[in-house]
């Protein structure tokens, strides 16, 4: 052993990683070391981190134990290489593991994951808004759906604003809650809830559609709702509303139905999927137009009894068909309160 040589150490099981200070020539059992490394590296990166830590501790231990024991000189060289290789491999694996871990972390914690869905140009958004009102009668070939969320999200927020406006002008009072919360809850609830429901149905009916595409499709379908509600909340004509409901709402519903039909195989499946979607979408527009008056009336009737002062609100004659539906809704909500 030369004087400048590395400190020797007890040859114990723990010292298998040892000899980090020396980078040496030759070493037969390096291969065995590699195998050991491979065994451990098969497990998760936390184990590698632990190992890395342990190696560091042993390094310190070795330093302390320096000169405590005497061993063969050539053996130290072997040990040195083993340690060197071991450390390099462990370092490498540790680095890879750390990189993967940080990638996984950013996957969950960073909004970068959503960025591809917001990668649009204004021209594209405008084109998609227009396309959402144009049903394409092409059912033999699957129609393209852009997996994009900017347009749908903005349309939902617009719908929230329009709904707030409608509630306010019709003097809607919501007890135990704010108008804002109700509007946001309704719009987002519809968008997310119906998308998930239709996605589930599509899964059952074997339709070729992903969740993002479903969200995008239904979100752009809300464009018709926005137009209809914006016009009819400001101009109170019932005939106008029904025309808008049938034409604008119908067009956007037809567009969604056409896309879904082109992506589904089998008549029954098409009927189930598109019937559900069309019914939900059209009824939601009716609900948004008529609901809040009836809900409020129902709640107030139950809570206050007949001796309530009359409300100052625009008188509207509620048609027969939605009346039945809405009465049940109102009663159900009143009961839950």
């Amino acid at each position: 052993v030369s004087a400048a040589g590395p400190p020797s150490r007890p040859r114990s099981g723990a010292a298998e990683w040892g000899g980090f200070e020396d980078n040496m020539q030759g070493g037969g059992s390096a291969v065995i070391d590699m195998e050991n490394m491979d065994d451990t590296s098969g497990s998760s990166f936390e184990d590698m981190g632990e190992m890395h830590q342990r190696m560091k501790e042993e390094e310190e231990d070795d330093g302390e134990a320096g000169g405590a024991d005497e061993e063969d000189g050539e053996f130290l060289g072997v040990k040195g290489l083993r340690g060197q290789l071991g450390r390099q491999v462990a370092d490498q694996v540790w680095q890879v593991g750390k990189r993967q871990a940080s990638k996984a972390f950013s996957l969950y914690a960073n909004i970068d994951i959503l960025r591809p869905y917001f990668d649009v140009e204004p021209v594209q958004v405008r084109a998609r808004l227009l396309e959402s009102m144009i049903p394409v009668k092409m059912i033999n070939f699957p129609q393209k759906i852009a997996g994009e969320l900017y347009g749908p999200l903005m349309l939902v927020f617009t719908l929230v604003a329009i709904l707030l406006h409608g509630m306010k002008t019709s003097d809607t009072i919501i007890r135990e809650g704010t108008l804002m919360g109700t509007a946001i809850g309704t719009c987002f609830g519809y968008w997310l809830g119906v998308s998930s429901f239709i996605y589930f149905l599509a899964y059952l009916c074997n339709a070729q559609i992903t969740m993002v595409q479903m969200l995008s499709l239904l979100g752009y379908g809300l464009f018709g709702h926005c137009i209809t509600l914006f016009v009819t909340y400001n101009i109170h004509f019932h005939s106008l509303f029904y025309i808008f409901w049938l034409v604008v709402g119908g067009l956007s519903t037809l567009r969604m139905v056409a896309v879904l039909v082109s992506r589904t195989v089998g008549h029954t499946q098409r009927l189930i999927l598109c019937g559900t979607l069309a019914a939900l979408h059209m009824l939601f527009l009716l609900y948004l137009h008529f609901a809040y008056h009836k809900v409020v009336e129902g709640i107030l009737d139950t809570l206050e009894g007949p001796n309530m002062p009359p409300f100052q609100r625009v008188a509207r004659d509620i048609p027969v068909v939605p009346n039945a539906v809405l009465n049940t809704t109102a009663k159900a909500i009143a009961l839950t309160l």
Binding site: N23, M24, Q25, G26, G27, G28, S29, A30, E71, D72, E74, F75, G77, V78, L81, Q84, L85, Q88, I111, L114, R115, Y117, F118, D119, V120, E121, P122, V125, Y150, L153, M154, F157, T158, A161, L164, H165, K168, D171, T172, I173, T178, L179, M180, P309
Partner: protein, 233 residues
């Protein structure tokens, strides 16, 4: 015995692993590169200790910073003062005063359909957060709180509009009053939108400005619409 075996194997495998010693980065290689220390770039007020100054000075300095930003919003010229040292004091003050003024007259009134304090508060902060996230998602290069700061400070014209509206409402609530309020609110709404756009648009990719401006427009539109429809009970 084991040692002899190991030594023999080591000699045999020596050439194979000879090059491995070079793989490791030894400490002999000097670290290269330039580390430039900016000498003399210390501005005098960085060295200025604020520990032993009177409390009044500290408060006045912060108030001055907030006031300066108010001026920036009222004269929205290209300036990065609002972006560089952001603070949330101004937005808080503006938001609270707007919410207080929008609060319906009597909280326990049964028909109080006016916006509640919490509602206004939530709309402003939630809206600002949504706009900020949207601009981040569209590829904006602005930090979260910078954007919040700008959006909050740009509520200032609308708070002024609210003040004017309350004064006009004191005078009376006829058609003339409504027209005056409409004009004031519209003007201030335009002002808010333009000011925030002027500050935020630079941080966006140029082809997507319209996409970023739309939610800002919607946000201020809802607030100004709330101000316009406000009538004290």
């Amino acid at each position: 015995m084991a040692a002899a075996e190991g030594g023999g194997a080591g000699a045999a495998a020596g050439p194979l692993f000879a090059g491995l010693a070079d793989v490791s980065i030894s400490e002999d290689i000097p670290v290269e590169g330039e580390i430039s220390v900016p000498v003399g770039s210390h501005s005098p007020d960085e060295d200025y200790s604020t520990l032993d100054e009177p409390v009044k000075d500290t408060i006045m300095r912060d108030l001055k910073a907030v006031g300066k930003k108010f001026v920036h919003v009222m004269y929205p010229k290209k300036s990065s003062a609002l972006l560089r040292d952001w603070d949330l004091w101004g937005p808080l003050v503006l938001c609270v005063s707007l919410a207080l003024m929008l609060q319906g007259g009597s909280a326990d009134s049964k028909e109080d359909g006016g916006p509640q304090f919490a509602e206004v508060f939530v709309i402003i902060w939630f809206g600002a957060v949504v706009i900020t996230l949207n601009s981040k998602l569209l590829g904006g290069t602005i930090s979260f709180f910078q954007s919040l700061c700008v959006l909050g400070y740009c509520v200032l014209p609308l708070t002024v509009a609210m003040l004017v509206c309350r004064l006009v409402l004191l005078a009376g609530s006829g058609t003339v009053s409504f027209i005056v309020r409409l004009i004031v609110v519209m003007a201030m709404f335009g002002w808010s939108t333009l000011a925030s756009t002027a500050f935020l648009a630079d941080s966006q990719p140029p082809n997507r400005k319209a996409l970023v401006v739309y939610p800002i427009f919607l946000f201020y539109f809802v607030i100004s619409w709330m101000i316009l429809t406000f009538t004290p009970q």
